[in-house]
Amino acid sequence: MKKSVVFGALTVAGLAAGAAAAGTLDDVKARGKLNCGVTTGLVGFAAPDANGEWMGFDVGVCRAVAAAVLGDPKAVEFVPTTGKTRFTALASGEIDMLARNTTWTFSRDVDLKFTFVGVNYYDGQGFMVPKELGVSSAKELDGATVCIQTGTTTELNLADFFRSNNISYEPVPIETNAEAQQQYLAGACDVYTTDASGLAATRATFEDPSAHVLLPEIISKEPLGPLVRHGDDNWGDVVRWSLNALITAEELGVTSANIGEMAAGTNNPEINRLLGTEGNLGEMLGLSADWGKNAVMAGGNYGELFEGNIGESTPIGLARGLNAQWTDGGLIYSPPFR
């Protein structure tokens, strides 16, 4: 509790310092670059490739916002942050937005004074065990040793889960996901627990993935999404609706392949409003009329980003699951463009 008070105080200090400056949107336009906070490296979500280009699912959100605001998906300065530095970087104004697989929680939203503008990935905490352990449910894990990343929400969820099921466990604290993989493979722990997407990505790198199983229990809700500072609603709207544009584009069947002809005008008024051929949505946001088109063209719509970075055709191989469109039984849902 004490920690969050300190963080909160720092955030207020940061806000007070930032309040003197103009709106973030104007700052970004004047600078000609979007400062976007990302992770220092998480498979599929954000990592630089061999040429030093940032790639990944969260990176795609940054590029879409940059394209919407500045018209150029390359006009992004990626600022790598660790789990410890991410919130101070955002609060101090070093970055304009944070897209770093960050769980939307009450205290982060209210106490740390951030605005989560939406959810780009619905995750949940799961368990991975070696097949030879013969376990089929997390409730059979009484007395197991569990590899757990310290300082994350997963640590607290784990304690809650085992306590409410009245079973015991022995935690093996580890620092990073890479360390966890080694510890788990070396047999230092029976179980590895983290977000299900992380587990799937980790399992995909094993020499023999079929020797490990993911248990069916998902013990927490981890809605991951981009966030901005409290107090600049204009900028929050820009990021929120850039994300929504990607989601709506998928829902309406607008892809990076057919967006050229769609932008010439269609019979669907919502597509026209999204792509700026009808109405003045861009003007309301303080952006150009083709902002939505630029956002989608940056890396494709939500579904394309998903499939290209973490979907079933990639080594990570995540199914859409909860992250399918609401029309397909998932939770991905954007308010209408009207």
């Binding site: 940061g14 990592a47 530095t85 080594p315």
Partner: protein, 431 residues
């Protein structure tokens, strides 16, 4: 005598007995093994156990190394080709070597600049390390920081030039006035340097870096082992003089100076380096407006320098304390004033005693530069832990990458330690 020989002795050899080979157990390999490996039963047991250990280690590592793959494009491809047999996947090194050395954002076309800076560095530190070289070379050493700054960061050449002019003017002032009045010379030099930097900085035209000969590279784009080398070299060369000054300050009779030095040293030694780095990277940005922050590289250099200076100060203080009191009194009785006594008599001896300690701090500092990876700077370890292990191609390669990092650090650290032993032998006067 000859008579006796003839009568009383039946046989006299007339020629020397031909040399016979020494017994097998007293010669060659056998002797060496008997004396060194099997001299007693416990030693024999230890030898056999050690051989078994070495065998079991090599049995696993040698095939791993020699069977290693160098040309695949991902870990999955490595595993496919190896097909269950043991073998390393060194391809990650061949594909990402440039990221490991230069970081992932340093422009590829500009790699020659750090390379040239590295070669020049060897030239620049040579006269500092080896006293036999001509002293004229020290001029180049003094110019090197500005050349290296210009090469690595690029941008307008005016910035390092202004810095250089400031230092030269300050030095000249100190030469002229510092002889007679140290305080006037020192503080006057500081003021002059600050004035020149302020004026020069204001005169550099806005946007001069855009059209510069060498394109500017921001500090955030530095990375890899280059970053470790830069941090290590800068911080060691800054913290040794600072540490000596602190050690002398701590021994001073003036209460204010002594107090400041003691508080500083004890404070810095009482705080972990990682805390200082967090302060440098996170907290300081709260105290500056968002656009006017001090460069992150500079912040980290300041923190690491202060940290190691405190340790070096204590090492040097040990050297000063080890000198017999007679040396101080001898200096006084010769009529030398304080700077002369320190420069000519005390420090040469005290520093000689402190060499192992200073080198120890320097090696430790060089390895501590990997801590910057926790504040999301991509040094060698940061590159491995972050971007490379997080790429879909190479997620899961550990031994090859960390082995490479260990090898690079070992080469440098072992070199430093060998140099310090050579230096100790050379300075040994045999008393």
């Amino acid at each position: 005598m000859s008579d006796q020989n003839n009568n009383s002795i039946a046989f006299v050899a007339t020629e020397t007995i031909p040399e016979s080979p020494p017994p097998a157990r007293e010669t060659g390999v056998v002797k060496w093994m008997r004396e060194n490996l099997f001299s007693s039963i416990p030693n024999s047991i230890l030898t056999i156990v050690a051989l078994l250990l070495i065998y079991s280690v090599l049995k696993n590592t040698l095939p791993w190394i020699f069977n290693g793959l160098w040309t695949t494009s991902s870990l999955a491809e490595c595993r496919e080709i190896l097909d269950g047999t043991t073998g390393a996947c060194f391809s990650v090194l061949t594909e990402r070597w440039n990221q490991l050395i230069y970081g992932f954002k340093y422009p590829v076309d500009e790699y020659w600049r750090p390379n040239v800076a590295f070669v020049l560095m060897l030239v620049a530190i040579a006269p500092v390390l080896f006293f036999d070289l001509p002293r004229k070379l020290l001029i180049f050493t003094a110019l090197y920081p500005f050349v290296a700054f210009w090469l690595i960061w690029g941008g307008t050449i005016l910035a390092p030039l202004v810095a250089l002019v400031g230092f030269v003017a300050a030095g000249a002032f100190f030469q002229k006035f510092g002889r007679n009045n140290f305080a006037l010379g020192f503080f006057g030099a500081v003021v002059i340097a600050l004035i020149i930097w302020a004026l020069g900085g204001a005169m550099i035209p806005e946007g001069a870096s855009d059209s510069a000969l060498l394109p500017a590279v921001p500090s955030r784009d530095l990375g890899g082992f280059m970053l470790n080398m830069m941090l290590g070299l800068t911080c060691v060369s800054l913290s040794v003089p600072l540490g000596i000054a602190l050690a002398l300050g701590r021994q001073s009779d003036m209460p204010l100076i002594k107090g400041i030095c003691v508080v500083f040293i004890e404070f810095v030694r009482g705080v972990p380096l990682i805390t200082l780095l967090f302060v440098a990277s996170v907290m300081l940005s709260y105290f500056f407006p968002p656009d006017a922050t001090v460069d992150l590289f500079l912040r980290v250099v300041i923190m690491i320098t202060l940290f190691s200076a405190a340790y070096i100060a204590e090492v040097v203080r040990g050297g000063l304390a080890a000198l017999p009191k007679g040396q101080y009194e001898a200096a006084d009785s010769l009529g030398l004033d304080y700077p002369q006594a320190m420069r000519l008599i005390i420090l040469p001896q005290a520093l000689k005693i402190s060499i192992p300690g200073i080198v120890n701090v320097a090696v430790g500092l060089f390895k501590d530069t990997t801590l910057v990876s926790v504040i999301s700077m991509f040094d060698l370890v940061g590159m491995i832990r972050g971007p490379i292990l997080a790429s879909t191609e190479w997620n899961g390669v550990y031994w090859e990458l960390f082995g490479f990092a260990a090898a690079l650090f070992f080469v440098v650290c072992y070199g430093i330690s060998q140099y310090s032993q050579w230096l100790e032998r050379k300075l040994h006067k045999g008393h």
